[in-house]
């Protein structure tokens, strides 16, 4: 009975997924969706992938990262190199983006995830800056001027199915045995350890999966906009992604999707006045903190994040209650 219901729901979701794809594709063919709307759909898609993947790290596993854009950057450059310099098809670019970002996730995750709260935030922020500065100084990828003439492969089909894949994979991960371990770490790291959860392993795992999808978002970005430069993926981009996650709700996938849609649209309207955009973002964050501390659709409280917790419950070990 119960499983039947789920099956029926699955079929319904599949139907909606396919319908939405065909509908937009048709409207785009007929010119009802013009290139400006398509541009924004692509941006929304990229932002959904970024937000959902950061939510896995920050919202579900409780690891505060301020360097998510750096993984996007690594993915963008990897795909740009693969498709431009090595003249490989897009799928190779995407795979290279995913793998290089994931490898970077492991390498940066193992030392930094031993740090807690604010220290982790600073370390990931530093990592983001290092990636940016490396990009600025390596001539092979164009230094500060960036990489040009990247073939435009990203289209509605790629974006749509990458978003679906990201959401489904991360959602399944969270609902799995391993996902439960990540949530336990976020809830109480010491208790998770006492249950036998290998906390370092799971933190690095969540970080790596998050990085992998951010890398894919980078590939989709690079192969849509023809042109990338290190400054496109700076600290402010990481903050943008974090704002989407907080706005949508920590620990809510649906929240991240909704957050990406709403904030991308607001951004689009404010594009011509970038200063105002930051003000509006600040106001939105402020209102969310005051009126909906769990975010638009979030289950967990912002205060649950170690960074916002007074007295560092975890730092003090079992004792410091």
């Amino acid at each position: 009975m119960n499983t039947n219901l789920f099956r029926r729901r699955n079929i319904l979701s599949l139907f909606i997924i396919v319908f939405l794809y065909i509908a937009v594709q048709l409207m785009s063919n007929l010119g009802i969706i013009d290139s400006y709307i398509m541009l924004n759909l692509i941006i929304i898609g990229i932002n959904i992938i970024l937000a959902v993947s950061l939510n896995l790290i920050t919202g579900f596993t409780g690891q505060f990262s301020l360097g998510h854009a750096a993984f996007m950057s690594i993915g963008a450059y990897a795909s740009a190199i693969a498709t431009t310099k090595l003249e490989q098809p897009f799928i190779v670019g995407i795979l290279m983006a995913a793998v290089s970002a994931a490898v970077a996730g492991v390498i940066i995750g193992i030392p930094t995830l031993r740090l807690k709260g604010d220290y982790l935030a600073i370390a990931t922020l530093g990592f983001g800056e290092i990636v940016r500065i490396i990009g600025l100084n390596v001539d092979y990828v164009g230094g500060a001027t960036g990489l040009n003439d990247i073939p435009q492969y990203t289209n509605w089909t790629w974006i749509y199915f990458m978003v679906i894949a990201t959401v489904l994979i991360i959602k399944n991960f969270i609902n799995s045995y391993h996902g439960r371990a990540c949530i336990a770490i976020k809830e109480d790291e010491i208790a998770a350890e006492a249950m036998g959860v290998n906390t370092t392993y799971y933190k690095v795992l969540a970080f790596t999966i998050g990085a992998l999808f951010a890398g894919i978002a980078g590939a989709l970005y690079a192969n849509y906009f023809y042109f990338i430069k290190p400054d496109s993926f700076g600290f402010m981009k990481s903050i943008d992604i974090l704002v989407i996650v907080v706005f949508g709700g920590m620990g809510s996938i649906l929240g991240s999707i909704a957050g990406a849609v709403v904030l991308s649209i607001i951004s689009a309207f404010l594009q011509s006045i970038p200063e105002l955009r930051m003000v509006v973002y600040a106001v939105i964050l402020f209102l969310i903190m005051v009126y909906r501390p769990n975010g638009l659709l979030g289950k967990f409280d912002l205060k649950d994040l170690k960074l916002f917790r007074k007295g560092g419950k975890v730092n003090a070990g079992i004792k410091g209650e």
């Binding site: 006492a194 036998g196 079992i318």
Partner: protein, 235 residues
């Protein structure tokens, strides 16, 4: 001997928290460690469960030195740590908390039986099976913490101040259940501030002071001991 600590030293930076602690627990016993705030009780439990690295010494569990094992391996070997302050997963349900307790186990059928055992011990948890753990009362949260600790099927259960912040009647209830758990075959190391209750429950006791074992003996003897009464039992 089920577990034996030999000359264990633990430092937090420059703080020398455990200064060459040695003690042992035999299979089937309830042993209590009592002592004032900051004496090193929690540190002792953290050292055993692998949450805190030790600087020197050894911890032998069923003949194997576990002092360098990871916390994960130690749970797998059969030691379960119910931490001070309960530390339940508040945004998970009661059931999900218990499932986390069985995290390393793969024997699905046995796990199911152990859920039932926990619910027999704590009927109140059964009634609140799908309630968010954070909304439980303090006593219920302590029950959940113990139940969660039992779900790893431990041979040795480490309990850190189960009486903390609970009304006397609830404390009594919990200590009765601790005795029941012991009767069913689980060896127990009980850390307590509530020396009176702990000594009434335990077979043997160690009194720890400034990171050193100060006094040891049979619990009933210590209950009558003049110096112990003065220092720990309020006269």
């Amino acid at each position: 001997m089920m577990i034996e600590l030999i000359n264990v030293n633990v430092y937090y930076g420059i703080i020398h928290a455990l200064k060459g602690i040695s003690f042992h627990i035999d299979e089937g016993e309830i042993v209590t460690i009592i002592g004032a705030n900051g004496a090193g009780k929690t540190t002792t439990l953290k050292a055993i469960s692998g949450i805190q690295r030790i600087k020197s010494g050894s911890i032998m569990f069923n003949g194997k030195d576990i002092s360098k094992s990871s916390a994960t391996d130690i749970v797998g070997l059969g030691i379960s740590h119910v931490p001070e302050g309960r530390r339940i997963f508040s945004n998970m349900t009661v059931m999900e908390n218990l499932e986390m307790g069985a995290f390393l186990r793969k024997d699905k059928a046995e796990i199911k039986k152990d859920f039932n055992k926990v619910f027999e011990l704590f009927p109140r948890l059964l009634e609140r099976k799908n309630q968010l753990a954070g909304t439980l009362s303090g006593g219920e949260q302590q029950m959940l913490a113990i139940g969660r600790g039992l779900m790893s099927k431990p041979k040795l259960l480490l309990l850190d101040e189960p009486s903390m912040g609970l009304a006397p009647i609830v404390v009594k209830e919990i200590f009765e259940i601790i005795k029941d758990i012991n009767k069913e075959g689980t060896t127990i190391l009980l850390v307590e501030q509530n020396a009176n209750m702990a000594l009434q429950t335990a077979d043997r006791a160690y009194i720890i002071r400034n990171g050193e074992i100060d006094i040891e003996g049979r619990a009933e003897d210590l209950l009558k001991d003049e110096t112990v009464r003065k220092a720990y039992l309020g006269g």
